[in-house]
Amino acid sequence: MKPRTSKVLAFQLAALLAGLANGLNAQSPEERGLEIAKEMDLRDTGFGDSKAELEMQLTNRHGETSSRQMGMRTLEVVGEGDKTLIIFDQPRDVKGTAFLSYTHKVGPDDQWLYLPALKRVKRIASNNKSGPFVGSEFAYEDLSSQEVEKYTYKYIKDEVVDGIDCFVVERYPVDPKSGYTRQIVWVDKERYISMKLDFYDRKGALLKTLKFSDYKQYLGKYWRADQMNMVNHQTGKATRLLWRDYVFGNGYKARDFDQRSLQNAR
């Protein structure tokens, strides 16, 4: 009796251990998705600050284009969302208009607008995340800093995009004010950067596709795409972002991202 019992026990124990080990190795798709998002975030942590010039090319459904130019400064805030200051240069009638945003991991962002003709700083509502940023195909939420906490995730599969081996991850916005029900992101397996993003609207239909290209590496670590192409499948409009003159390590402080600097920035 005794040996037999212990045999059964041993068998059961082995099965239990194997099951446990199996469970540890094979994450759920949700865990895998979150892990990828965290790794992306980790690899982009520690850049400190950056500034860049941005040209925004807007194309309407008739193929007519118009252009906007702006400068963008970013301050990384550890443990919180980043602070961003955008200063418009063209078109000329909006020159000097500036936009200050404090992104938060949880809850609404804080946003101010500076109108140079009146010299007025105005706190603006930040719940229009899904609204277009200066008439472009980019919504505010597409341009604000991508914090892990803003989505829940689900790993789907691996896929090769433009010769690059990618993870395909679905993510679902946490904020009910988001204009999207889900996004599908293609992540370069090697560099952990986004190559492509599909946006699905509130009705679940494919709305936009964003493609990143011409990635360059800065400070031997951080990747930034020089080109971002957003196409709206429902309206036929498109917006291309052309980034240039990236500079890291500017030594920016919180003081460079306050309402005073919003007024003085050029």
Binding site: V121, I124, R260
Partner: protein
């Protein structure tokens, strides 16, 4: 970007002989006035020279980092009715406006110089001709300190339909009767930026008189304002040095500002008098005042809750006034990308219907429609309604960029059902349509 220009008042544009003002009437001999005029002309000439030199020479000396920009604009106003008073131009009027801007910063942005000149030539009213330095200042920024010296402009406040707490700069009333245009103010402004907010001290040497339409101009009362002949309570007249303190901070969803001002009231009273040709005119009377004020905004969800309040005290007057209300924005109107902002603000003045201002117990409701398109098209419309006498005053402003360098602006102002005792009564026939086309460079 939403240009937030909404209607502002005509307050104090109109005749209000406050009895006590008579006491303060100063008699000045003609000789003094001529001397003063000459001084002003030489100051204007000197500053013109300085600006021209800055615009021409600065780009050369500072080389590539200097920026020159600005616009030239042509506008025309067509009035609905014939003029009310003799001397006024009844037909359409036109104006050309040139506003060049020069900016240069150095020492990694620690120092900056900015100049904005403003030149306007009107077809009918010579009181609308103006040369002004909107900005001619040096800015020094060092960590927690900022210092601005020169001619500049500052904005205080949060409300849309009236800018009650916006005290520092004088209104250029003839640029636009909405009161959004301001004259440059000589100042030394020191700011200390801390975790407990921004503390500003203003020293304001030199007073700017409000601009008013002249004999030929519309948007005035029966008697025009004689801007050559102002009366000051201060013996320093327009050379008195005024002071102001301001604290500005944001705490979570709240943006708050508090100020104290001591000096010459930018809003004049009026005293009947005669000009050099023997015409009956209104002489602007600028009293001294102490003012405290508060501006507060709560930003939550799509709601902006706003409040501005002031308390003023002068030798003859003591009152408080407030404007408060909300702005709520509906995003993505009807599935489009357009936004509609709904505005409502209430105006209160402790002097009630006797207040010499148009908006004393009035209600403002309006809307702001933003197309969110590549031309930044937007439309702002609003109506003021006097709760006690029913006078109604409406404004509509539309703007749209044409191509990359031009902008079209259309404004309509309509006065309806104006009560005989309302301060807007003298301009009841001055409803107009204004179209402006600007080229930016």
């Amino acid at each position: 970007m939403a240009r937030d220009r909404i209607c502002k008042t005509y307050d104090r544009e109109v005749v209000l002989p406050i009895r006590a003002i008579w006491r303060a009437t100063l008699r000045r001999c003609r000789g003094d006035q001529i001397k003063q005029l000459r001084q002003r002309q030489s100051v204007a000439l000197l500053s013109t020279g300085a600006v021209l030199a800055a615009f021409l020479l600065a780009p050369l000396s500072f080389a590539s980092s200097a920026e020159v920009s600005g616009y030239i604009s042509a506008e025309t106003r067509v009035f609905e009715n014939a003029a009310s008073y003799p001397g006024q131009e009844s037909g359409p009027t036109g104006a050309v406006i040139f506003e060049p801007e020069f900016y240069h910063e150095w020492d990694g942005g620690e120092s900056a110089f900015e100049a904005i000149a403003y030149l306007r030539k009107d077809s009918a009213d010579e009181e609308r001709d103006l040369f002004d330095l909107r900005e001619f200042s040096y800015l020094w920024v060092n960590r927690d300190w900022e210092l601005r010296v020169g001619i500049s402009k500052v904005f205080w406040g949060v409300a849309e339909s009236q800018h009650l707490v916006d005290t520092i700069n004088q209104t250029d009333l003839v640029a636009n009767p909405d009161g959004e245009d301001k004259l440059g103010q000589p100042m030394v402004q020191a700011v200390y930026v801390s975790d407990h907010g921004d503390f500003s001290l203003f020293v304001l040497p030199g007073f700017r008189e409000r601009t008013f339409p002249g004999e030929e101009g519309r948007l005035r009362g029966r008697y025009w304002v004689d801007t050559d002949n102002p009366i000051y309570e201060s013996s320093g007249e327009d050379e008195r040095v005024d002071f102001a303190l301001r604290w500005k901070h944001y705490i979570g969803d709240y943006d708050v500002g508090v100020h104290y001002f001591r000096g010459t009231n930018r809003d004049p009273g009026f005293v009947p008098g005669f000009d050099s040709e023997g015409n009956v005119v209104l002489r602007p009377y600028y009293e001294l005042m102490d003012q405290v004020g508060l501006d507060l905004q709560l930003t939550r969800g799509g709601w902006l809750w706003k409040l501005e309040a002031i308390a003023r005290e002068s030798e003859v007057d003591r009152y408080s006034a407030m404007v408060g209300g909300f702005e709520y924005t509906l995003y993505g109107l009807g599935g489009s990308v357009m936004d509609l902002g709904l505005l409502a603000e209430a105006h209160l003045d402790s002097r009630g219907e006797n207040a010499p201002v148009a908006f004393n117990r009035d209600l403002f409701v309006g809307g702001r429609l933003t197309w969110n398109d590549e031309a930044d098209t937007n439309l702002v419309a609003g109506t003021f309604w006097d709760a006690e006498n029913g006078s109604t005053f409406a404004r509509v402003e539309f703007e749209r960029r044409l191509g990359s360098r031009h902008k079209l602006e259309v404004e309509v102002q309509k006065l309806m059902n104006i009560d005989g005792f309302d301060p807007l009564y003298p301009i009841r026939r001055d409803s107009f349509l204004q179209v402006a086309l600007s080229r930016y460079f």
